[in-house]
Symmetry: C2
């Protein structure tokens, strides 16, 4: 066998450590699959003294020197965050190295620039691990479904929020209590903002939308709403209408009206989905992504979305592909922006709302409320009215309408004298 | 753009028709993704007069002439069956064409020979559509998980039997009644043997096992048992222990005892699985495949396993990959048999049984029955005993034991005087 392929590893935390372990344990298998042995050329870390398990001669603090070393063929980046990862990857690509990254924030923000650099240098940029951990998702989207037209990608792509919402549904706890439990159980970080406020899911949604619709989408283009405002009442109301609450990353192709071009709607927010929907059963820290394509119909991909080992599995799958491409002297399919669809503003994106109201139990209230929906051009799908003494509860699910019209309706309802309180407002997805 | 890539289509039934339609509708997208236009060079059919929708100058009855035409680059085979598909594909490969096939029977029987031919000719042989229709499964197995070690692949890969078993569970009907309903609804063929007796699932299991374990497995190596013996009682008993009955294709890596090499166990049979298992919720004609890997953990792939459009979607995904490889002058990753694991006989494969017995309700019967399990080296996991008058029911679930030991135990139970009848015997999967 000829000379080994040399890999530079950037970062050696949980994921990096698992990558090193798998590279060693699976070395025979990897060599058989790639056709060449793979060797670690070096591991760039900030504090070498914190990595006693890694051979000292591999450790370096000079990441830039490592990724531009002439003998390095492939670079694996598991540092995360924008800088220094961005500069290091651009330097690696500029030096002709192929790159595997698990960095969702970077790919979501700077995917277009990184892809352009990789394409110009004729090298690969793969990042299966950046979305939904071990679940093979990006490769199916960009390769298996390459002959199909995608309509919609809806995912549970953040394990922390899914764990919290699952516990709220199971125990009736409020958000704060469930978050405390998740922190205790190790499912939430000390600062849970990135997860709880939907930043992590939004980065993944940007990557998914870009691949699914061959159009550049960044996190900044998206509507984003986290789960901290989801109440025990919201979860209970969901159960009453046969639904469960999930934080969803939703990427849709929306047909243009009157011959206008199609556009892409990308959003992250909590939503009620029917318990019969395949995503509803995805509990705890698991991830799943539901895909609707013209010809393939409905597909779902399910698995562990985080953790060192699952993420390392995705990194190594990419590494095998990138290594094979390098030996063959080719680059794999990149991300293409040829469709160039624009991102639709949230206000104009069609959504459905669930609204629960406490109202006075007297004749005419339903008519008044219904009139308010109609005045905003919102069509009601179902209403349930439960009287109890002098008060009544109205539970309303709308048809699809522009999000702004729905939001405006809710604002008006809050001002109506017949409405004593709006007790729950949440979008609804997955209803036929 | 340079000359178009030319595709020969073999067969023009439901799938072939959908392939032609997608090639036409998606032609702009396909050209953008491949970097070259794709053109249909010809369509080989037996009866040209039955295809009025296909331009007459494309139709031919000379399939061999078509696949060896010098201007043809790629061959798509959707004829099915062993011959003439086998000879045509070998001729195409011999003439240097890359091949996309949806032919599970052929790949299961002759995959090794076809792969060897493709490898020698330096061309691609892709067949995502052969297993689980539109569900991206083979590409994830052979590429995304290439850096991981697979433990187990368990699939619901036949929609007809899943529809029948789903209806039995929903309505309490027996097998015959549910089959009649499936035939009526168009989910079962006039001759349902291939589906109902597990031949279709067994072919898919052979393909999955070969890819998952890098070892040659054919249908002939497998244990196969269909669903015609599954009774309404079996389905009811499953529900009583929190399970549901599914026809499963199971491919496992079994550790060798005392330093012996690992082996592969491949089998298709009905089994009870817990309703909490992700596969249990897969109803109707849907397919799903559950994968357990060392590092990635548990994964599941779900979607439509049959039908013209979904299958055509998978064919076109392969076509894009094969076309890109051809333009780059490379071949994609083939199937490798480097692991060379042997297939373990069913008798020695560890399984678990559920057994329901009618017994006389008198002291000592349970002890006698339990003794029979012990005598065969089978350990009991749970027993439920329900007395009703002078008779009682015993519901037993065993731990894992060699299948032959479990089968021998059941044979002995049937002969015992204290046992009035063995009312249900079914293997159990997915219990922890």
């Amino acid at each position: 066998m000829s000379d080994a392929l040399k890999v530079a590893l950037l970062g050696c935390g949980t994921v990096g450590g698992a990558v090193l372990r798998l590279l060693s344990e699976q070395s025979e298998d990897l060599a058989a699959r790639i056709g060449r042995r793979v060797e670690v050329a070096g591991v760039a870390v900030r504090r070498p003294d914190r990595h006693p398990d890694v051979p000292a001669d591999l450790l370096t603090t000079d990441a830039l020197g490592l990724v531009t070393r002439p003998d390095v063929d492939l670079v694996v980046e598991v540092i995360g965050g924008i800088e220094p990862a961005r500069s290091l990857l651009l330097a690696a690509i500029g030096a002709g190295k192929s790159v595997v990254s698990a960095n969702k924030a970077l790919l979501a923000d700077d995917g277009v620039a990184l892809h352009a650099a990789a394409s110009e240098a004729g090298v690969d940029l793969y990042y299966e691990a950046a979305v939904a951990g071990a679940i093979p998702l990006l490769r199916p989207l960009r390769e298996s479904l390459a002959g199909d037209q995608l309509r919609r990608v809806v995912g549970i792509v953040n394990g922390t929020t899914n764990y919290i919402l699952s516990r709220m549904a199971e125990t009736g706890a409020g958000f704060g209590e469930a978050l405390a439990e998740a922190t205790e159980a190790g499912y939430a970080e000390a600062d849970p903002t990135a997860d709880v406020d939907g930043f992590d899911a939004a980065a993944k949604a940007a990557i998914l939308a870009s691949l699914a619709f061959h159009s550049p989408v960044t996190s900044a283009d998206e509507y984003r709403e986290g789960i901290s405002a989801v109440s025990a009442t919201d979860v209970a109301r969901a159960a009453e209408i046969g639904c469960t609450v999930k934080l969803l990353a939703i990427c849709e192709r929306v047909a243009g009206a009157d011959g206008a071009d199609d556009s892409v709607a990308v959003r992250v927010h909590p939503a009620m989905i029917p318990t019969s929907h395949p995503l509803a059963a995805v509990g705890g820290a698991f991830n799943a992504v539901f895909v609707e394509a013209e010809a393939a119909g409905e597909l779902m991909f399910y698995g562990r979305g985080a953790g060192g080992e699952p993420t390392a599995s995705a990194v190594l799958g990419d590494l095998v592909a990138v290594a094979r491409n390098r030996l063959a002297g080719v680059a794999g399919p990149g991300t293409t922006g040829y469709a160039g669809l624009t991102v639709r503003p949230m206000a104009e994106t069609p959504t459905r709302y669930h609204v629960s109201l406490d109202v006075a139990d007297k004749p005419g209230v339903l008519a008044t409320v219904a009139q308010e929906f109609a005045a905003n051009g919102v069509s009601i799908a179902t209403v349930r009215q439960d009287g109890h003494g002098e008060a009544a509860t109205l539970v309303i699910v709308t048809h699809r309408a522009p999000d702004a019209a729905l939001a405006a309706t809710v604002t008006r309802l809050r001002e109506m004298s017949a409405v004593r309180g709006v007790t729950s407002v949440l979008r609804v997805e997955g209803l036929s």
